[in-house]
């Protein structure tokens, strides 16, 4: 059984690689034949889940939906192009059947080739075009209308459903999660965008403190925001941005066809007198305004319609009533459909009920003393992914493109006498760059501009960080919030209880974006849009009474009558809410309804919400029926043996996905022991008090994300420490990908000997961190040593460093283009310039005959890597302007070399010469530096405990244990009390036990190896139970008086290294304008004596030092200045103003001061200098 290969997964293929060799690790050393314990082993669903979905399933699902379904819908909806001039003309764009976006590339473009050659990984969007030429109809097939960037590992990618071997053969890393794009050679991620959910009523206080119910409506055509405000003295208004005044709510309702006040009251209040009392001022207001009929109301509203809406129809006397009618039908609450009935009259009934409901919700909130909805609740959020964002962009581009084609065709067709029939397909091919450029530009710049929705977002995409494997992974699960960073509100930043299991509680940056940038948890799934037509039919069949048939009294009369919503739209009411909800759930579990449809009741509002829209966060849970989890021992066996996959359990209704909203309507047990069940009519127990368990958590550790999952024993740490580690784990140097040596990145850090951690977590294995690790297991002694370990500094063992501890490789890319210019000139490469002795000059020492540095040659700062020369003249000379020769070969060249300008010796690692899409030659040089740790290099454990190397100590000076072991790292114990990183101590203990035992131990969150067991192993091996050893000083040779906590801890080397930062200068370059020293290390700048340093010098009274620092060592300048007139600018001792040489003196002042005087003079302000002799 063990030999049967597990079937290939869809998104990621890590696990198929796994199934052979790694059963030992995957199943914690258990053989397949070993007994299986459901309670302990149900976590195995997690790898099964990730196997079918991959690590970045959200991105892939979203993009696949876009490329397979949505893009076709968009094209279908906008397929027709007609001409204003020829009514006969019609051009139709059709999606070819079985169309494959990438089928028609002439050769197989691989993602890795795109990276190396700075190309875009994109496929052609091909359509069929049907049009007529005169009376004749034509069809052209497979016309390319643009290129679509392809997400890696999506269904259109060459890597899709490939085995690890095949992926490796394509030059790709099998562990790479995919989910990003390659645009012009750079890897770009479209970050997940967090937004407030659309089409849902949210009740909250507005800016002035009044309670209001707001809805952001969103359809394909329109986006608008509508609000109902419970204002002063109980007056209720409708607010909308296309209305320039607030409209009393009853007028709106009357305009929507509810003319009788009684009916209005019934729709809003039902028979509740309390509500009626709160609502009566609004009713009175309306009647006091003498508006009674629908027509009156419409006219009233029409007069308030914002002028810009009518701008186009200046001069025509507006029919205000029609204006208002159109506005109410299309713009206000745009998502509530207004259908025309058989007579062609709008049916406003659903919208009227919707408005009434909004009013009811505000009144309810007012009655309850201001209890409003929480907009930070995760259920009120929607996550927008690559697919949705691309769909927005593509729709806009496609619409504009058809418009462009229309214009081009119109231009041709309006010509009265054409010699030949116009062929419209030329217009199509002529504009093919439009869509391509639009898409490429948006993804590479991150500026998402959709004019239709007035959407202007910047920073939507980011360059995929390849600092380490986890940093890339962390980026793909990142969620960025639309919320402003500058505003000082804590709500959106705070940890929400509803984030449980959906968003990682630890992984967020510190500082300004704290809490606004979040990360997905391990098992989160984000839904894609799905069709709700079928669902709508089903809902009616299950006994929902159509909203059009319901009167106001029926709506709220009965306690058991619930309003039924589908994606925010009222469908009707149901009189047996619980049964109805259970029916839908049952249908979902047997697979008749999409598994990602959620349904939940809100008892306080008496509503049932059914959602099938995209962007909801959800996660899988085990269903519990009558106190028994449906996923049992046999299922687990089937799973382990590969007979069943994760999706099989979803189909068979043992596991289901719950979104955050449905979670509020469920009772989820964390462990099996927590499952509660009371049979109905159980004596003595009231049902409503003790809810029965409905679901069981799969594994509690999945509530953390991929990055926080690396931390061993995170549940023993102080929480900010885990957050710090999440930030630091991304800076750790390690292995990046299996193809890391074939990559040419601008900056690449690699570790020479990375270890997989002694203390692992399940997450580490699931994400493949054990195969691409970033750190080393260091033997750590927690003790004070030498005084060079204060403030978290670490003491390193020199012998360990000699033997390869913390060794890393830094690779840098230097590249240039060999361009050809309009005047037939082109860049060229020159060989080394030779000195008199025939030996190349030092600068050119690394060059080979082709003018490029040779692979393997050592280079120092200042060496030329690519000896490029460019022509002095590159523009096309106009013919006839015969100054000089027009012969391109006579144009002189100047040197434009690429020079290595970093401190320290390095080696040329690789040279690539290739061409990009535009056929321009490009040369890339990869430079490599191998570094051993030095004083000041930064290290960190996995518990947010960073420190720099304070001293490197000889092995013989290090303390040694009974068996002669010396530590690699000595850490000061002062790091523990205030940080409270107990997890680190347990890691040491488990690591030590693992070393002695010859096993890896587990530090999985809310589980892992127990301290008690670890102590037992230590004792069995002759060590103290507490991990403290007897150490002898290496310096005195005597035993240390304290027992030392001693054992392995996984240490990460962080990218911050002294070599890249150290900087000093005595003299050097100065800025041209001010003549002050330049700023910054890259410009060999000076170190600024700033304001505080200046204050310090003043305080010390060291005025000579002050004047030296600020004047003589900076920009001292001798200014000739006339002591009589006080003007500067005397020339050679002659004051041009006084026309005399008498009183010109030389004054030393900062050049910047002189500059200021001159600039003041240039704007007619006279600065005069009064000169006196120094006493």
């Amino acid at each position: 059984m063990a030999d049967t290969p597990v079937q290939k997964g869809k998104g990621s293929s890590i696990f198929s690689l796994e199934s052979h060799g790694r059963d030992d690790l995957r199943y914690n050393g258990k053989k397949l034949t070993d007994p299986i314990n459901t309670v302990e082993d149900k976590w195995r669903l997690v790898p099964a889940f990730l196997q079918t979905k991959g690590l970045v399933k959200q991105h892939l699902d979203s993009f696949n939906y876009f490329i397979e379904t949505d893009i076709k819908k968009i094209i279908e909806a906008n397929k027709e192009v007609r001409s204003d001039f020829d009514p006969e003309f019609k051009l139709e764009v059709k999606v070819p059947m079985g169309e494959d976006l990438r089928a028609r590339t002439s050769y197989q473009l691989t993602p890795h080739a795109c990276r190396l050659r700075d190309m875009t990984y994109a496929g052609a969007i091909e359509v069929d075009i049907k049009y007529n030429k005169g009376k004749q109809g034509f069809i052209k097939r497979n016309i390319e209308i643009g290129k679509m960037p392809i997400m890696l590992k999506s269904s259109k990618c060459v890597l899709h459903e490939k085995s690890p071997d095949e992926i490796a053969a394509l030059g790709e890393c099998p562990l790479d999660p995919g989910g990003y794009f390659i645009i012009r050679g750079t890897e770009k991620v479209i970050l997940i965008q967090e937004q407030l959910s659309k089409n849902r009523i949210i009740v909250e206080p507005d800016r002035t403190g009044f309670i209001s119910a707001n809805v952001t409506s969103s359809t394909h055509e329109k986006k608008s925001k509508t609000g109902v405000v419970y204002g002063k003295a109980g007056k209720i208004f409708l607010k909308h941005n296309s209305l320039n005044a607030e409209i009393p709510i009853c007028i709106v309702l009357k305009a929507l066809g509810v003319e009788s006040d009684r009916e209005i009251a019934e729709l809003v209040c039902g028979s509740n007198m309390e509500y009626l009392e709160l609502f009566s001022p609004a009713l009175e207001e309306c009647s006091s305004m003498k508006i009674f009929t629908q027509k009156q109301a419409l006219d009233f509203i029409g007069a308030k319609v914002r002028v810009t809406q009518r701008g186009s129809r200046v001069g025509i006397k507006p029919n205000w009533g029609d204006e208002a009618r159109a506005l109410l039908a299309d713009t206000v609450l745009a998502h509530v459909p207004v259908e025309l009935d058989s007579q062609g009259v709008e049916n406003f009934r659903p919208k009227a009920i919707y408005v009434a409901l909004m009013v009811r919700r505000t009144i309810q909130a007012v009655r309850d003393g201001g209890i409003t909805d929480d907009r930070d609740f995760v259920g009120n959020k929607r996550l927008e992914l690559a697919g949705q964002l691309l769909s927005l962009l593509f729709e806009d581009l496609f619409k504009n493109w058809t418009l462009q084609i229309k214009r081009a065709i119109d231009q041709q067709l309006k010509k009265p006498n054409r010699t030949s029939q116009y062929d419209a397909s030329t217009a199509v091919s002529a504009t093919s760059k439009f869509i391509t450029d639009g898409l490429f530009r948006a993804i590479s710049s991150g500026n998402w501009n959709v004019k239709r929705f007035k959407m202007e977002r910047a920073g939507v995409t980011q360059v995929l960080s390849r600092l380490s494997y986890v940093s890339a992974l962390g980026m793909l699960t990142r969620i960025s919030s639309q919320f402003e960073k500058t505003r000082k509100v804590s709500g959106p930043r705070a940890l929400q209880t509803s984030q449980w299991g959906m968003l990682c509680p630890s992984d967020t940056p510190e500082g300004e974006a704290c809490g606004l940038i979040k990360n997905l948890a391990l098992m989160t799934h984000i839904t894609t849009d799905s069709d709700d037509k079928a669902l709508q039919r089903l809902v009616y069949m299950l006994g929902v009474e159509d909203i059009n048939l319901i009167s106001g009294t029926d709506l709220y009369s009965d306690k058991e009558t619930f309003l039924v919503f589908l994606n925010g739209v009222i469908l009707g009411v149901h009189r047996q809410a619980e049964k109805f909800v259970n029916d839908i759930r049952r249908l979902r579990r047997i697979g008749k309804v999409d598994p990602f449809v959620s349904v939940y009741r809100t008892v306080s509002q008496r509503t049932i919400n059914i959602s099938s829209d995209g962007g909801r966060v959800c996660r899988p849970l085990i269903i519990v029926n009558k106190g028994v989890p449906l996923f049992d021992e046999n299922d687990l066996k089937d799973l382990v043996h590969g007979i069943k996959k994760f999706d099989d359990f979803v189909i068979t209704g043992k596991i289901e996905y719950l979104d955050t909203n449905e979670e509020t309507d469920s009772d989820i047990a964390i462990y099996e022991k927590d499952v509660v069940y009371h049979p109905p009519n159980f004596p003595g127990i009231d049902f409503n008090d003790v809810p029965n368990t409905t679901h069981l958590e799969i594994a509690p550790f999945t509530l953390l994300g991929a990055v926080a999952g690396l931390i061993p024993y995170p549940h023993h740490n102080q929480s900010p420490r885990n957050t710090y580690q999440c930030a630091m784990g991304k800076q750790a140097i390690g292995a990046i990908a299996y193809n890391q040596l074939n990559r040419i990145d601008t900056l690449l850090y690699l570790m020479v000997y990375p270890h997989h951690p002694m203390v692992r977590t399940r997450t580490i294995e699931l994400i493949g961190y054990d195969k691409l690790p970033a750190g080393q297991n260091a033997t750590v002694a927690v003790m004070s040593y030498s005084g060079y370990d204060i403030e978290d500094a670490l003491v390193l063992n020199k012998a360990s460093v000699d033997r390869g501890f913390g060794r890393c490789v830094v690779m840098r890319k230097f590249s240039t283009m060999i361009k050809s210019y309009a005047n037939q000139t082109y860049d060229r490469l020159a060989d080394a310039q030779k000195g008199d002795d025939g030996i190349p000059i030092t600068k050119h020492a690394a060059l080979e005959d082709d003018g490029i540095a040779g692979v393997g040659i050592r280079i120092a700062s200042g060496n030329v890597l690519i000896n490029k020369q460019s022509p002095m003249e590159t523009s096309q000379r106009p013919p006839g302007s015969a100054v000089g020769s027009s012969d391109p070969s006579a144009i002189p060249f100047r040197n434009t070399p690429v020079t290595y300008k970093y401190p320290g010796e390095a080696v040329v690692d690789q040279v690539v010469m290739t061409t990009n899409e535009e056929d321009q030659t490009m040369i890339k040089c990869l430079i490599r530096q191998t570094r051993r740790p030095e004083l000041g290099d930064k290290f960190s454990s996995r518990h947010g405990q960073k420190g720099v190397c304070g001293i490197i100590v000889n092995q013989e000076d290090m303390p040694f244990a009974e068996n002669g072991v010396t530590p690699d790292v000595i850490m000061n114990p002062h790091g523990f009390p205030s940080r409270m990183t107990v997890g680190k101590m347990i890691e040491l203990l488990s690591g030590k036990a693992g070393v002695l035992d010859g096993n890896v131990q587990y530090g999985t969150a809310f589980g892992g190896s127990k301290v008690e067991d670890m102590s037992k192993i230590l004792i069995e091996n002759g060590y103290s139970y507490c991990g403290k050893d007897v150490l002898t000083s290496g310096i005195t040779g005597e035993m240390l008086q304290a027992y030392i906590f001693f054992g392995p801890i996984y240490y990460q080397k962080l990218k911050h290294m002294v070599m890249d930062k150290m900087h000093a200068r005595s003299r050097g370059p100065r800025a041209t304008l001010t003549r002050q020293p330049t700023e910054g290390r890259s410009r060999d700048g000076g170190l600024r004596v700033g304001e505080m340093e200046r204050d310090c010098l003043i305080g010390h009274g060291t005025s000579s030092l002050l004047i030296e620092r600020l004047l003589f060592s900076s920009d001292a300048y001798d200014v000739e200045c006339c002591s009589k007139c006080g003007l500067i600018g005397a020339y050679h001792g002659y004051c041009t103003f006084c026309e005399s040489r008498e009183s010109v003196v030389s004054v030393k002042m900062p050049y910047a001061c002189k500059l200021l005087f001159q600039e003041l003079m240039s704007m007619n302000i006279v600065p005069r200098v009064e000169v006196a002799t120094l006493e």
Binding site: V752, R803, G856, F960, E962, Y1025, G1034, G1037, M1039
Partner: protein, 340 residues
């Protein structure tokens, strides 16, 4: 001052006490002053085990400073030969030149360092200061391999480069001098690099004499260390079930039980786990101590020299240091107050 403190280090439940030696002149009444005759009488070396690579012996009646000096010298100052310069002719393996060079540098060589001289950076290499090796490996596909072979070792020839591939190139008189013990890496099976067809490594390597202080590759020992002889003192008899529990607190063989009473059979086997101090029933019944001047010294050689030869070398280095010191003191015009 108790007798205990004079000669024993005490391992408490939470700390180690009486760590420092007290045999220093003028600390106590007369009799503890250091005396060469007394030292000669008390000093003992007992070799416990000795083979090519490892040695364990007891140094008895010596100060921690001296024992430590030997340890430190063994780690850092006894010279060995190690590869220092590598001349790459070809390396298209996945390992970078620097990394491969670093790996090869750490390979221990069996050359006797005493037969070589130190080489300064500007010295020309001679047969007295340099050993030359050559590494020339090319990986090819194995024509005899089965078509569905997956094991790289079978599928390819030379897929792994081992230390045995370092071929000694005798220069000058080296061939004669090392006739009976040709120079080669101590271990044949140290993996240096992995190759795939088309990849090859060709290099010349020069080994030089050096000391561990400069780089760990010249350290002649994997580790050299010592521990003090444990002395478990049972203060009150431990009997019955307690005795069995007590026995289990120590590694096997440390404590034996006779007639229901625990006694210390072999204190050497104790590993300072202090497990017995955790249990209430042994409170005041046991005292864990160490004999302060009894060092159980262990040397794990890397294989260039036998451990006993290493210790000799270390002693020689120490003697040379003392001589140096004495000379320096003489040069300062101060009287040297002690003899060698």
């Amino acid at each position: 001052m108790t007798d205990l403190m004079k000669s024993r280090v005490v391992l408490g439940a939470h700390n180690v006490s009486h760590v420092s030696s007290s045999d220093f002149p003028h600390n106590y009444d007369g009799d503890l002053a250091w005396d060469i005759e007394k030292f000669k009488k008390n000093f003992k070396v007992v070799v416990g085990s000795l083979n090519e690579m490892d040695m364990e012996f007891d140094l008895i009646g010596i100060d921690a400073a001296i024992a430590n000096a030997f340890r430190r010298i063994l780690i850092a100052e006894v010279p060995t030969m190690a590869i220092e310069s590598i001349f790459f002719h070809d390396n298209n393996s996945v390992l970078f030149d620097e990394v491969l060079a670093h790996r090869i540098g750490l390979v221990p060589l069996n050359a006797d360092p005493r037969l070589f001289e130190f080489r300064q950076w500007d010295d020309t290499p001679t047969d007295l200061n340099t050993i030359v090796f050559r590494l020339e490996v090319k990986c090819t596909t194995n024509p005899k391999a089965l078509p569905d072979e997956v094991d790289p070792k079978q599928k390819y020839i030379n897929s792994n480069v081992y230390s045995k591939d370092l071929i000694w190139q005798p220069k000058g008189a080296q061939e004669e001098v090392f006739a009976d013990k040709p120079i080669k890496p101590v271990h044949d099976d140290i993996l240096l690099a992995k190759l795939r067809p088309g990849q090859s490594i060709v290099m010349d390597l020069h080994a030089q004499k050096g000391i561990g202080k400069e780089h760990a590759k010249w350290s002649p020992v994997a580790t050299a260390s010592y521990r003090l002889l444990p002395d478990i003192q049972i203060l009150k008899p431990i009997t019955g079930d307690d005795a069995i529990k007590f026995q289990k607190c120590f590694p096997k063989g440390t404590i034996e039980i006779e007639k229901g009473q625990a006694y210390v059979a072999n204190p050497r086997k104790d590993t300072a786990s202090r497990e017995c101090l955790r249990h209430k029933e042994f409170e005041d019944k046991v005292r864990l101590t160490r004999v302060r001047d009894h060092f159980i010294f262990s040397i794990e050689s890397t294989g260039a020299l036998t451990p006993d030869a290493l210790f000799e070398s270390a002693a020689q280095v120490l003697i040379d240091k003392c001589k140096n010191m004495k000379q320096a003191l003489n040069d300062m015009g101060l009287p040297a107050t002690y003899d060698e």
